[in-house]
């Protein structure tokens, strides 16, 4: 169904023309003394190299054995876990906690989607969709742990008051866990709410550009949203649960971290 609208060489030429936009931003930044030029240029070069490298790898991967998917997923999940664990500094959340959470959230979701045949067993579906799900789980995981860490720190008195009244550590930190789960899911939920009103999301845009039927494109976009929501929710629930176990002792004491 995907027809070639862009020749590769033509594509690179158009990409070069797009640099006009970058020049506009740089001029604006200079004018307003925003001091973001350097970072912008570095980010642009990095993004270019990474995506081109990805394109080369994808060309190779799309041709190779399906088992490679597992390797790619593994690398993605490790990278996501590593990135997320650095974000959740307040918790001293080790790599295992974030990696496990993302593995569980993205893993369960992807397995269901593959077993039901919603994601076809083809490289060009498995790799980008897997990346999308894992990447979003990573963001959800970071947001949830960051929020939980700071909320528990700033509510130590309340939590210990609840423990003193005979609450378990789960009961005592329920308000903070709840707030962390909500806060980290809000971006995804808001996106879902405004879907199609504020923006035509990425996948649908891509499919439409590639000439797909709008209904089909919309369905696929929704599937992706539910995957992201499901994987994110499971990741968040797992991460907050594991973090709770780390923040409290078995004797329901709030552990002194710093």
């Amino acid at each position: 169904m995907v027809e070639y609208l862009f020749e590769p060489i033509d594509g690179l030429f158009k990409l070069a023309l797009t640099l006009i936009l970058l020049a506009v931003i740089i001029l604006l930044s200079r004018y307003r003394k925003l001091d973001i030029e350097e970072e912008l240029i570095v980010a642009t070069v990095r993004g270019f190299m990474q995506l081109m490298f990805l394109a080369l790898i994808l060309t190779f991967i799309f041709e190779s054995h399906l088992v490679l998917v597992l390797v790619v997923y593994g690398v993605m999940i490790l990278m996501a876990g590593y990135t997320s664990s650095k974000r959740a500094k307040k918790l001293k959340a080790p790599l295992e906690l974030t990696t496990t959470s993302i593995l569980v959230g993205a893993g369960i979701t992807l397995i269901i989607m593959i077993l039901t045949g919603i994601i076809p067993l083809r490289m060009e579906f498995l790799i980008p969709l897997g990346g999308m799900v894992i990447g979003n789980s990573m963001i959800n995981c970071s947001l949830a742990l960051d929020r939980l860490g700071s909320d528990i720190q700033s509510n130590r008195n309340k939590i210990e008051a609840a423990l003193s009244l005979g609450a378990t550590s789960e009961q005592a930190s329920l308000p903070q866990v709840r707030a962390a789960v909500r806060a980290s899911l809000i971006p995804t939920i808001d996106n879902l709410k405004t879907l199609g009103i504020i923006l035509i999301p990425g996948t649908m845009t891509g499919l439409l550009i590639a000439g797909a039927d709008p209904i089909w494109a919309a369905s696929y976009q929704l599937i992706i949203f539910f995957m992201i929501l499901c994987a994110g929710s499971i990741t968040i629930i797992t991460a907050t649960y594991l973090a709770q176990q780390k923040l409290f002792s078995k004797k329901h004491q709030l552990i002194d971290i710093n």
Binding site: N155, N157, K158, E160, A161, A162, L163, S164, L165, G166, A167, T168, Q171, P175, S249, K251, H252, Q253, L254, D256
Partner: protein
């Protein structure tokens, strides 16, 4: 109420970040008595209280409650019998009523009477019930924290400077209420205070804590000799100076 309810500390020590916060503390408090703990700030009074309901773990020594080491008891169950009123009142989200019933709800033991009784014992009126706890003054919040602890009808009360934010009239009434509760319910109480005069008024036993060491412990009559009736004389007499 129960003659075996008492608190014993046997060579208890606690270190926090390389510092000795509690240093080899031993005492034995009989059931149904109030132990007033006095000492300068930073001497470990709050830490001492928090080890008794096991909010923090001690490094060495043993704490006995009901003749059994607290390490051998279920921390949740033991905390339900020990009311702790922390130094800074921490209100939960919601109304005063929701705060007071929190502990009762955890055990499915909520009753309006229990809340009203606790409210009265903490020198609060019913008009507070539906006010938002976070909007109250510190003194009012402190009383809500007291009511919240009393609602569970604890056998042991740990009070961490409970009257620090109360005016003298309410402080006196509160002291009388707690002494009354001790008499009728046989409560055993550890009462941390900054105020020597209050220690003298409420303490059956007095402990003096200095840099983590329990420098003196004994019946109030021994710590405050009868001759030195007031604060100044107690100080001049050499006792309790810091």
């Amino acid at each position: 109420m129960t003659s075996h309810t008492h608190i014993v500390m046997d060579r208890v020590s606690k270190h926090l970040r390389g510092r000795t916060v509690l240093n080899n503390i031993s005492f034995s408090l009989p059931a149904g008595k109030i132990m007033a703990v006095i000492g300068p700030s930073g001497s470990g009074k709050s830490t001492l209280l928090r080890t008794i309901n096991r909010l923090i773990e001690i490094d060495s020594g043993t704490i006995f409650i009901y003749h059994t080491s607290i390490k051998k008891q279920n921390p949740i169950r033991i905390r339900r019998k020990i009311g702790l009123v922390a130094q800074t009142p921490a209100m939960f989200e919601g109304t005063v009523l929701e705060n007071i019933r929190y502990g009762l709800d955890l055990q499915n033991k909520y009753s309006k009477q229990a809340v009203l009784k606790a409210l009265r014992d903490a020198e609060l009126t019913t008009e507070f019930l539906y006010r938002k706890a976070s909007n109250l003054s510190v003194g009012e919040q402190q009383r809500v924290a007291i009511a919240r602890a009393l609602a569970l009808e604890p056998e042991i009360l740990l009070l961490d400077e409970p009257t620090a934010a109360l005016d003298s009239k309410i402080t006196r009434r509160f002291e009388a209420t707690i002494k009354h509760l001790k008499d009728v319910r046989g409560l055993t109480i550890v009462w941390v205070t900054h105020d020597l005069a209050q220690a003298r008024r409420v303490g059956d036993y007095v402990g003096i804590l200095k840099r983590g060491k329990l420098e003196q412990f004994g019946p109030a009559s021994k710590i405050f000799p009868a001759a030195t009736k007031d604060h100044d004389k107690a100080k001049r007499g050499g006792c309790c100076k810091w």
